[in-house]
């Protein structure tokens, strides 16, 4: 089993979700995060004091998939999340040792 972490632009969440559902991937966990990278943030002004906000709002998706589905998933996410402009985000893949579904206690591929 693999854990795919994707950092994407917030307004792309729905498209990416749809793409994954179409691939038959039925579950994911979403976290609101802030990103720092090439894409620069914005400026705010309050009574003449300016603040340069360097962190950009992003969405982090965590998706656990069987090894067999990793390739599709990566392809699907990349396609759906891409705008071609700086800040589209990253995908990180790592190995999981075990997965458990709390409700049933079952583990492994059956658990996701």
């Amino acid at each position: 089993m693999k854990l795919i972490q994707a950092i994407i632009k917030p307004f792309k969440l729905d498209e990416v979700k749809e793409a994954l559902v179409e691939l038959g991937i039925q579950g994911m966990t979403v976290t609101e995060v802030k990103g720092f990278g090439r894409q620069k943030g914005h400026k705010e002004t309050y009574r003449g004091t300016e603040y340069q906000i360097e962190f950009v709002p992003k969405i982090k998706l965590e998706i656990v998939v069987p090894d067999s589905r990793v390739a599709d998933a990566l392809e699907g996410i990349t396609r759906a999340a891409k705008t071609g402009s700086i800040g589209d985000g990253k995908i990180f893949v790592s190995e999981l040792q075990s997965v458990i579904r709390i409700r049933t206690g079952e583990s492994g591929e059956g658990a996701v």
């Binding site: 307004f11 914005h42 400026k43 705010e44 002004t45 309050y46």
Partner: protein, 436 residues
């Protein structure tokens, strides 16, 4: 361009100042407060009412609208109400009030005699017991809220500079004349059209103008597909509550006295608001299974809109009927929008346009006191007159607003760019964020 536009404001100011700075204080100098005709009681009530109407706009309407947009646009939405008050106040002083209320010119507009409030001082306003200056500022607040109401239709996508320019032109070219038609000695008033506190002048006009705005600006990016749920409903309910609170000044204050008429208008306002809320909730409950807070707030406002033109002319039971109608018809108005699919973001047309139209006609049905008599009380002609008023207002406002929008679009451009819309108006128009 914004430079050019700023100059515009300053230019107006400068001219105004030099042409008028001298006169006005002169007039005021002959101040003789407490002249026998002034009633302290009536004046106290209209002063209070003027403050209440301001509270309807800021913070009332600002919150009512601000809570309904997405959090990235809440500041810009609040700003629309705030700037409307500021801009209209200045315009009203320099020429707006004169165009609306100075001696009639051909039944369609007021003269220029009162430019810069020349001669508008502490002396009692004609046919009343309050200072002219107090009547003027009470009317100023009406002009301000009307412009602010329109902003709901173009929220989340209009350019700030465009709205400012629009406000100046609209209050000058649409509101002032229309106000003159009905209250300033113009043809509609002469015709006998009844509008106690602004059903046509304020609500139909803002609603119809909103429709024009929605059609000209087009839909928000993602309308119909993205989630555009209100970002902060408590703000919206607070706004609706303050609107209700201030509406007592709006309606009962329109009696220009603290008397039985004001009392009757106050009661009608209260029960119509309640009936409107209950009606909206009832329909929701029946057709959607659950009554919503936003529905209660919307229904109360619908009831308040509906009773506005009738407030001083009807008894409490009639007021309940009118309020119920307001709740039901405005619910349908909103429903219709969703069907027709134009993007009147915060339903200005659905609530103020529809509600105001129903109220104006209902006044022709239920009027029974305070100098008005409607169909149900033996005067069928009134409904016809009301219908003429409604029709004329719809046509004049829609056409005029459409034209103004085209002009503004030409001068500064109406809409922000797609990117700015995605990022939100708070950051892109104002360099600010609402919540850290």
């Amino acid at each position: 361009m914004t430079a050019l536009f700023r100059n515009r404001i300053f230019w107006i100011t400068i001219v105004g100042l030099f042409s008028l700075g001298g006169l006005v204080p002169g007039v005021y100098a002959q101040d003789s407060p407490g002249t026998p005709q002034i009633s302290a009681g009536d004046t106290a009530w209209v002063l209070t009412s003027s403050a209440l109407v301001l509270a309807m706009v800021i913070p009332g309407l600002a919150l009512f609208y601000g809570g309904m947009v997405r959090s990235k646009n809440v500041l810009s939405t609040i700003m629309h109400s705030f700037i409307a008050v500021c801009v209209v106040s200045i315009v009203w002083v320099f020429w707006g009030y004169s165009l609306a209320f100075a001696p009639d010119v051909g039944g369609v507009v007021g003269g220029l005699q009162w430019l810069g409030l020349t001669g508008v001082g502490p002396e009692p306003v004609e046919g009343s017991t309050i200072p002219h200056s107090v009547f003027m500022v009470f009317q100023l607040m009406f002009a301000a809220i009307t412009v602010a109401l329109i902003s709901g239709a173009i929220a989340e996508r209009v350019k700030f500079s465009a709205f400012v320019l629009f406000a100046i032109l609209w209050v000058t070219l649409i509101y002032s004349p229309l106000c003159h038609w009905v209250w300033g000695g113009g043809w509609l008033g002469e015709l006998g059209a009844l509008d106690f506190a602004g059903g046509t002048v304020v609500h139909i006009s803002s609603g119809v103008a909103a429709l024009a705005c929605a059609l000209v600006l087009g839909k928000r990016k993602g309308y119909g597909t993205e989630n555009m749920a209100p970002h902060n409903l408590p703000l919206t309910v607070v706004g609706a509550s303050l609107l209700w609170f201030g509406w007592f000044g709006f309606n009962a204050g329109s009696a220009l006295a603290a008397d039985g008429i004001a009392g009757g208008a106050f009661v009608a306002t209260q029960v119509a608001a309640a009936a409107g809320a209950l009606a909206w909730l009832g329909v929701e409950w029946a057709y959607r299974g659950k009554p919503t807070i936003l529905g209660a707030a919307s229904g109360a406002v619908a009831g308040l809109v509906a009773i506005t033109p009738a407030a001083g002319f009807v008894g409490p039971i009639s007021a309940i009927w009118i309020g119920l109608g307001g709740g039901v018809f405005c619910y349908l108005g909103v429903f219709l929008k969703n069907k027709m699919g134009y993007d009147d973001a915060l339903d200005v047309m659905g609530i103020h346009g529809i509600g105001g139209t129903w109220g104006a006609l209902a006044t022709g049905l239920f009027a029974s006191m305070g100098g008005g008599t409607g169909l149900f009380f033996g005067n069928p002609g009134q409904v016809m007159i009301q219908a003429i008023g409604v029709g004329a207002t719809w046509i004049f406002v829609f056409a005029g607003t459409f034209l103004i929008l085209k002009i503004v679009d030409g001068v500064v451009g109406l809409r922000v760019s797609k990117e700015e819309e995605v990022l939100g108006l708070d950051l892109t128009q104002h360099n600010e964020r609402a919540y850290e």
